[in-house]
Amino acid sequence: MADSPVPRRRLSDSEGFLAWVLLLPSVIYIVALVAIPFFLAIAFSLSDVTTGDPSFDWAGFANFEAVLADSVFWRSLWNTFLFTAISMALIVVLGKILANVLVADFRGKWLVRFFVLLPWTTPVALGAISWLWLLDSIYSPIDWALRQLGLLGTPNAWLGAETNLFWLGEPGLAMGSVIAVHVWRLTPLAAVIMMAGLVAIPRDIEEAARVDGAGYWRRMFEVTVPLVLPVAAVAALFGAILTFTDMAVVAVLTRGGPTHATEVLASWAFTKGIGGGDIGQGAAIALFLFPLLLAAAIAILRSVRRLEVL
């Protein structure tokens, strides 16, 4: 070391050493509070741990058997898929339209951006509270407007003779309401991700295609769509994961009701694990989310790769 050509060689100059030292605290934090709880969740799902009796006893697949035998579980599994699929499709289409609006220049853009961001930046539970009142069973202003239009509340009205639609009380309407709230709150996020993608796409590519004489449809399918697709995929998967794993909307709006019509895996795991105190069963239910999340994560990874290739 003494005859090294570099006069001072301290640890704080070694890039290889620094790279690890700077990274390590974050890695330790994440391993301790994400990786360990994850494996703990798997262990719990194979045990009989409850909040009353936290001692760990091996229970094999008893929790999974109990969960699979419960019709509410199947209902919530189906709902989780249904809500995610429908919301994802709507979020991507609306997010793309919104992104196109927000990258354009127009008067009052700042205000429009502010309004549009509201659903996403507001804590989910509070946004859901606004919706809870908007969809109230008696005082919903939507019902009031429909009554004024004569569509509701008169004997021959198109939407029925009752004075209210009971948005959160009818299974079909309640499911629609939950989906609507998800779409409402996640469309801005999808739009922001797509804006980032639109900004990243080099402008000249489309111009070059135009100069080379490519028509509108040709540009659309051979230039714009392939360029936008990876970004749209990222936005779609973000929307999907956030819908897939969310329980706040259901917890505030319907509490899973009416009679489990809007129950999702997340809310059912919470009801069983925290509400009912059966941690083993709750963990087993939550674990059903994992294979699908893994698939979604791999899909995002591939989309990001394609973005980087650009």
């Binding site: 605290p25 509070l33 009142w133 329980m247």
Partner: protein, 300 residues
């Protein structure tokens, strides 16, 4: 201008095509404004409804005959006063603020060095490591809250707001590292090299030369991390049950609804009071987030 005229002539653009372009342009503008107003209306609609509700008298609110969009009786601020004086709303707000501040601090202390390591120290594994860290953001609280709740009990933090300070950085660190990587990559390498020529160590160049330049990006990450923390619901609901220890996102929906009694005006006031400032600050930094997300994805 002359350049454009020459090009137009060479492309054979006539008065007729120009007029049809103009018509298409006007239609496009009208469509743009209609869409912008529509999106703004649907997004803000529920909050406008909350705002109207917050100032209504009970007699006005609970009368099915009244037009719900108008004030049929005089306005009242009594429900707003009730919210601030007779409910723990201020305690919730205070908890959200200090939890958010501490979580942001932990996030920066851990995330900044990690982001710098991945963005600048040229390790061959930096690329996939960065993606792995980002993937952690996609492991949802839904999957972890049950085992974390047992761990929180083991640490003796159950029913304490401190449990959230401990757990929330797992949400904010991964996404912040990703954003910070983007901002750090945007800083020219020469500046650090110059700092090292001037006698700073490799570490010193990061702290003294790169960090100050990354400041705008860091502010954006602070806002983003705080917003994530304020929105979190599942952990807050699972770990903390005494009302004085709750944060806004769980306190408002659980404490302002007592059984079947909904304090509607106060609830809606709380929703608006929280929503407006966050969206306002976020809007100031939106362009920076977009820049950060894009730069994080571009290889440095």
């Amino acid at each position: 201008m002359a350049d454009i005229a020459v090009r137009e002539r060479s492309l054979g653009i006539t008065e007729a095509t120009r007029r049809s372009y103009h018509r298409r342009y006007v239609l496009g503008r009208v469509g743009l404004y209609v869409l912008a107003v529509l999106f703004a209306f649907i997004s803000a609609g529920p909050f406008v409804w909350s705002l109207i509700t917050a100032f209504k008298l009970n007699a006005d609110l609970y009368n099915v005959e009244n037009n719900p969009f108008l004030f049929n009786e005089p306005l009242t601020a009594s429900h707003l006063v009730f919210l601030f004086r007779d409910t723990p709303f201020l305690a919730f707000t205070w908890n959200t603020l200090w939890v958010g501040a501490l979580v942001v601090l932990i996030t920066l202390v851990l995330g900044l060095p990690a982001a710098y390591s991945l963005a600048r120290l040229d390790r061959p594994w930096a690329g996939w490591f960065g993606v792995m860290i980002f993937m952690v953001y996609l492991v949802p609280p839904t999957l972890l809250f049950l085992s974390l709740s047992r761990m929180v009990v083991a640490f003796g933090l159950q029913d304490s707001t401190w449990s959230l300070v401990l757990v929330y950085p797992t949400i904010t660190i991964p996404v912040s590292i990703w954003l910070l990587m983007g901002f750090l990559r945007a800083i020219p390498k020469d500046i650090e090299e110059q700092a090292m020529v001037d006698g700073y160590s490799r570490l010193g160049a990061f702290v003294r030369a790169a960090l100050p330049l990354a400041f705008p990006g860091i502010v954006a990450v602070v806002v983003f991390a705080f917003t994530l923390t304020a929105s979190e619901f599942i952990y807050a609901l699972a770990f903390v049950s005494p009302s004085e220890e709750k944060v806004v996102s769980t306190g408002v929906p659980t404490e302002l609804i007592r059984g079947d009694v909904y304090f509607w005006q106060s609830l809606q006031a709380a929703s608006v009071v929280v929503a407006l400032p966050i969206a306002f600050v976020f809007n100031l930094f939106l362009d920076r987030f977009i820049a950060g997300f894009t730069m994080g994805a571009v290889k440095g």
